[in-house]
Symmetry: C2
Subunit: 266 residues, 2 copies
């Protein structure tokens, strides 16, 4: 059975998250339904990362085992045809070896977060940003973020329902850019690690926002981390601004287009 | 009765265009409904430009006469509150003189158009771009656009239902930028004139796309213009990529934030 890797973009707004659930609209369910149009006995795909309700994908990666030997361009086009009118798009398909695994072979996950400051409510970007109506100060947020970089016990920034075996993770990057927009500003967070705990990114952004608005001093981020206590976390921020921006592999299965740039506005 | 000018941003997707129609969702109707929450006997607003079904606003301008003397910040906030959950947002409110008119005093309208080339269907930008699945060549499009600049009889690029008294208009700007995006490109058209004929911008973009894909030579744009015949126009392009990007006045009623930049991506 040939195995195919897929790079997937999706708008998370209409879905109860990535993971298939009977009777609920999910991204995984929609893609599996499209695969069953090509192969009625198709079972399931495996993905690099699950995303929660309302979280978006810019370059999620999943794999599927198909009985037929497909030319990758034709498989890509056929899947996008059958995915209509879902806001889910297969950006690239690659044939991979039988033992390649979208989840277990991933060496890095990259997230991107859009936080919009503007008084007037978002219109075209509704559901695609977390909006606040006061400006933030980037310098203290950057200072606070430095305390999170490296290997730590991230119990403070972990959902109580997180199923990871250990709360110890290594955060490789947490950078923040400010982009001027009419009548306000956007703050873009780029966050990178081998793997994440459940709600870790939204716990980071929610706590950093407390620093940016002056409610927390930057050093309080270190105190929160050191506490090793969920109660020490800032508010978990909304899902709407969060994007799974990319997945890294020792050998990237996709060729062609360059990786998604998570540094600027999409 | 004090008169107030409003700068308005909206996502045109859920609306049958700007203009109020009984029993249909329209942008004008939604804003008038919000005004009636503040003043039950409120009648109607006047806008600088009507937009068709599916066309968006970045900085539409309209005015309203209210019986009460409002502090502009409070009026702005109250309108945005009552507009929820519509994807319509009042960016700015200004008090203007009783004889100031959003439509008749406008000296310039600016439109912006987003054309996306990518094979994979748009997800987050669905309904916000016109998507094609082949690349365009910008240089010949720019050459063709030069034939349209200046004062001309634009009968070729005018809807048969256009109600303007004359087909003669002066086009002040038609510039095209190419912006690289993952797996494709966007072409941004910035178009500026004192006023436009119905469907003029979409007729321009639809014809320029024919040049960009190699189907028309640039000089054919001049031939089409000279024909003065609707049948000589290229296909009128879809509404989804079109934005009313700004309205100019001899004296801008709004102060504060800078005008919307129509040159780059929003």
């Amino acid at each position: 059975m040939p195995r195919y890797a897929m790079k997937i973009e999706y708008n998370g707004q209409p879905y109860n998250g990535w993971q298939r659930q009977d009777g609920q609209p999910t991204v995984q369910g929609a893609i599996e339904d499209a695969l069953r149009k090509l192969q009625p006995d198709f079972d399931k795909i495996a993905a690099a990362g699950r995303t929660d309700t309302g979280v978006h994908g810019l370059a999620q990666v999943a794999h599927a085992d198909l009985t037929r030997d497909w030319e990758v361009f034709r498989l890509n086009e056929a899947l996008n045809y059958h995915l209509k009118p879902h806001p889910i798009s297969i950006l690239e398909v690659a044939k991979v070896s039988d033992d390649w695994h979208a989840r277990f072979d991933a060496t890095e996950r990259r997230y991107w977060f859009r936080l919009l400051y503007r008084r007037a409510p978002a219109t075209h970007d509704k559901g695609l940003v977390w909006q606040i109506n006061y400006p933030l100060d980037v310098a203290p947020m950057r200072e606070a973020a430095q305390h999170l970089i490296g290997q730590h016990d991230f119990t403070t920034f972990r959902s109580s329902t997180c199923q990871a075996l250990s709360p110890v993770k290594t955060l490789d990057e947490l950078t923040i850019e400010e982009v001027a927009v009419p009548y306000g500003a956007e703050y873009h967070f780029s966050i990178r690690a081998r793997s994440f705990l459940h709600n870790q990114v939204r716990s980071f952004v929610g706590s950093l926002e407390r620093v940016g608005c002056g409610s927390w001093k930057p050093i309080q981020m270190k105190h929160a981390l050191d506490a090793g206590d969920r109660a020490a976390c800032g508010p978990v921020c909304p899902a709407a601004g969060l994007y799974l921006a990319g997945v890294g592999y020792a050998q990237d299965p996709f060729t062609g287009a360059a990786p998604i740039n998570t540094g600027g506005k999409r």
